[in-house]
């Protein structure tokens, strides 16, 4: 990757962290500026729109988990972010498949909040293509972690169904990431264990103990705090 590419990646990751911190504040009931005000306050519009796409469906976690009302301006901001970073129509690489699924989650969550009567957009492919074979649970669980923004209540879809059908592979993936001390992956997978618990699906791991362990060890970045806040909310709502 070029120096410019590294700078772009670091800047985008930082902008996404700032936005993730605001979603955490919303989940905790703290005062925060709306999405429109946040985008308007940011000097680099491309950067902040990229952050909007990166946080994606998690922007609507406060709406789906704590009953926040959708601001009509949010629809426009998300629409702008899709225009700024164009959607991949025919995903070829694994990263493009993950991007397509995460975009689908954002669009579905937004559509359900903005217009509940409207039909969901069609999924961008089948779950096996993006997740792989659950027999190869090491790779499969990493792909599941990359799709953590799909672990929101009521979102559903083929990927959620596929993960719900593989609680053992998920538990193995969590254990592996914990042994590797890859806390970023552990936190993403913890969201899935919480969603399984929320939907009363038996699993070999205790998601409460996992969430508590990660609260103590996984660090304090805004992205981690957001994943853990969603995990907690899912466990409390079960």
């Amino acid at each position: 990757m070029t120096t410019g590419g590294r700078v772009a990646e670091t800047s985008l990751a930082g902008a996404a962290d700032v936005l993730a911190g605001q979603v955490v504040d919303a989940l905790r009931g703290r005062e925060r500026p709306g999405l429109v005000a946040h985008v308007d306050a940011c000097g680099d519009r491309t950067l902040v729109l990229g952050a909007v796409r990166l946080v994606g469906s998690d922007l609507f976690a406060p709406h789906l988990l704590t009953g926040h009302l959708l601001d009509p301006g949010d629809v426009e901001v998300v629409s702008d972010s899709f225009a700024c970073f164009p959607v991949v129509r025919a995903p070829a690489s694994h990263e493009q498949h993950v991007t397509a699924w995460r975009d689908w989650a954002t669009a579905t969550a937004l559509l359900r909040l903005a217009d509940p009567g409207e039909a969901d957009p069609g999924p961008p492919g089948d779950a096996d293509t993006v997740l792989g074979d659950p027999v190869e649970w090491q790779t499969w669980s990493v792909h599941v972690a990359q799709l953590a923004p799909l672990a929101l209540p009521g979102l559903g879809g083929p990927v959620v169904d596929a993960v719900f059908g593989q609680p053992l592979a998920l538990a193995r993936g969590v254990t592996r990431s914990l042994l590797r001390r890859d806390h970023a992956t552990s936190v993403r997978l913890a969201r899935w264990t919480a969603l399984l618990h929320h939907d009363r699906i038996d699993q070999p791991l205790d998601p409460h103990l996992l969430a508590e362990h990660l609260r103590l060890y996984a660090g304090t970045s805004a992205r981690t705090a957001l994943d853990l806040a969603i995990t907690r909310r899912l466990l409390e709502a079960a």
């Binding site: 985008l12 225009a83 700024c84 970073f85 164009p86 991007t99 042994l179 970023a184």
Partner: protein
């Protein structure tokens, strides 16, 4: 001639590449995971063999 301007900013190629990479974060490449060490037993045995003997209690006391 009408001048057409884009209403929205468009991400550069570098920004798009960075964005796609961040959308699918890989596993942490380096970790402190405990790894299998096939030669650890030999090292342990060698350590036992070259370690100093247990000190003896002096007899003239």
């Amino acid at each position: 001639m009408a001048l057409h301007t884009l209403a929205h900013p468009a991400a550069t190629t570098e920004e798009r590449t960075a964005f796609t990479a961040l959308m699918a974060p890989p596993e942490t490449p380096v970790s402190d995971a405990p790894l299998y060490e096939p030669h650890a037993a030999g090292g342990l045995l060698l350590g036992l063999l070259i370690s100093p003997p247990v000190p003896k209690e002096p007899k003239d006391r």
